[in-house]
């Protein structure tokens, strides 16, 4: 029997994706397209928050949306019907996250020459999407009040990769044992540079602040 040959690799499994994501970000920079990756658990109100925000922004910048789910196209249809914004549905084929290559494939279906902002609504999950760089120019996550203020302690990676944390469903704060200050403290502990914005997608409270943040990011990216 031949002796066993060992080939040393010593390489992170994420290295190729990280490289690909950096490349995609550079391409987006050259084209002046800002890609925002939004993550959250299922049911945190991503789609409702987006609809509110996009309706505020759609006359000021050119927007497209990519919805990533394991199956179905309810979100893409909902966004298109409620905002008139081009929206496509990506299927991850059973995978719990999107990576840079899947994001690139999705972007191929968008008219990037006539788009300023692409929003990627990642698969609802607080674990896996945080591990795979999609090539986005910024990451945002939505934590909703009923989920609890302790989530930054339980899912530290998700909070550490986000530039913006939206705390949604503030209209039901009174019904839950959710301490906003404690939540902010936990987020700061994981990620001191993350901006925190309390919003209510149902009443529209705070949505203008999110829209303003997005507008500023898009304008800076184009410079």
């Amino acid at each position: 029997m031949d002796p066993v040959k060992i080939i040393e690799i010593k390489k992170s499994v994420f290295a190729d994706n990280d490289m690909d994501a950096d490349l995609l970000r550079k391409e987006l920079k050259q084209r002046g397209v800002f890609l925002l990756n939004i993550m959250s658990s299922p049911g945190s109100g991503k789609t409702t928050t987006l609809i509110r925000t996009l309706n505020l922004l759609k006359d000021r910048i050119r927007i497209a949306v990519m919805e990533a789910d394991i199956d179905g196209d309810v979100d893409a249809v909902k966004i298109r019907e409620a905002t008139g914004i081009p929206s496509i549905q990506l299927h991850t084929g059973g995978m719990c996250h999107l990576d840079a290559e899947m994001t690139r494939q999705g972007l191929a279906h968008i008219d990037l020459d006539h788009t300023d902002l692409v929003i990627l609504e990642n698969v609802g999950n607080l674990v896996c999407p945080a591990e795979f760089d999609t090539g986005s120019c910024a990451n945002a996550m939505i934590l909703s009040v009923p989920e609890g203020d302790d989530k930054p302690l339980k899912y530290p990676l998700m909070f550490s990769v986000c530039d913006l944390v939206l705390i949604n469903k503030t209209d039901v704060l009174q019904c839950f044992d959710f301490d906003m200050d404690r939540c902010r403290k936990y987020i700061r502990k994981r990620n001191p540079r993350a901006k925190v914005l309390p919003v209510s997608a149902r009443t529209g409270d705070g949505i203008d602040a999110f829209a303003g943040w997005l507008l500023e990011k898009v304008n800076n990216w184009k410079q």
Binding site: I9, K10, K11, F14
Partner: protein
């Protein structure tokens, strides 16, 4: 739950290395998995068996996992401690100005062929 995606990445990387080295069958892939990498070794090897056996190059190939213990260092007092046991707060000075030194690895160490 993300282990299957990671298995696909491993397979892609191993295929590339095998091709570069003219290897026609790989008998084992050795991984370094950090204790706090969020990858669960049992799930990883389960997904590996399912996916690897679909490839001629990797049929019957074993996935060996080395667990890398997680160590955190405290910026305030300079001590290092076990991350899993104590978490983010330093057990020596109770500061939370701490960072992970190792234990986050998801790395292909080597292949045996």
């Amino acid at each position: 739950m993300h282990e299957l995606g990671i298995v696909f990445y491993i397979i892609r990387d191993v295929k590339k290395v095998a091709e570069e080295n003219g290897v026609s069958h790989v008998s084992a892939v050795v991984m370094n998995i950090g204790e706090v990498s969020t990858v669960i070794p049992d799930y990883l090897t389960d997904c590996w068996r399912w996916a690897a056996d679909k490839e001629d190059l990797l049929r019957g190939c074993e996935l060996k996992v080395n667990i890398i213990p997680a160590v955190t260092r405290c910026e305030d007092c300079g001590e290092e401690y076990e991350t899993v046991r104590y978490g983010k707060e330093c057990p020596h000075c109770h500061g939370d100005n701490t960072f992970l030194v190792c234990g986050n690895e998801v790395e292909i160490k080597e292949i045996e062929c």
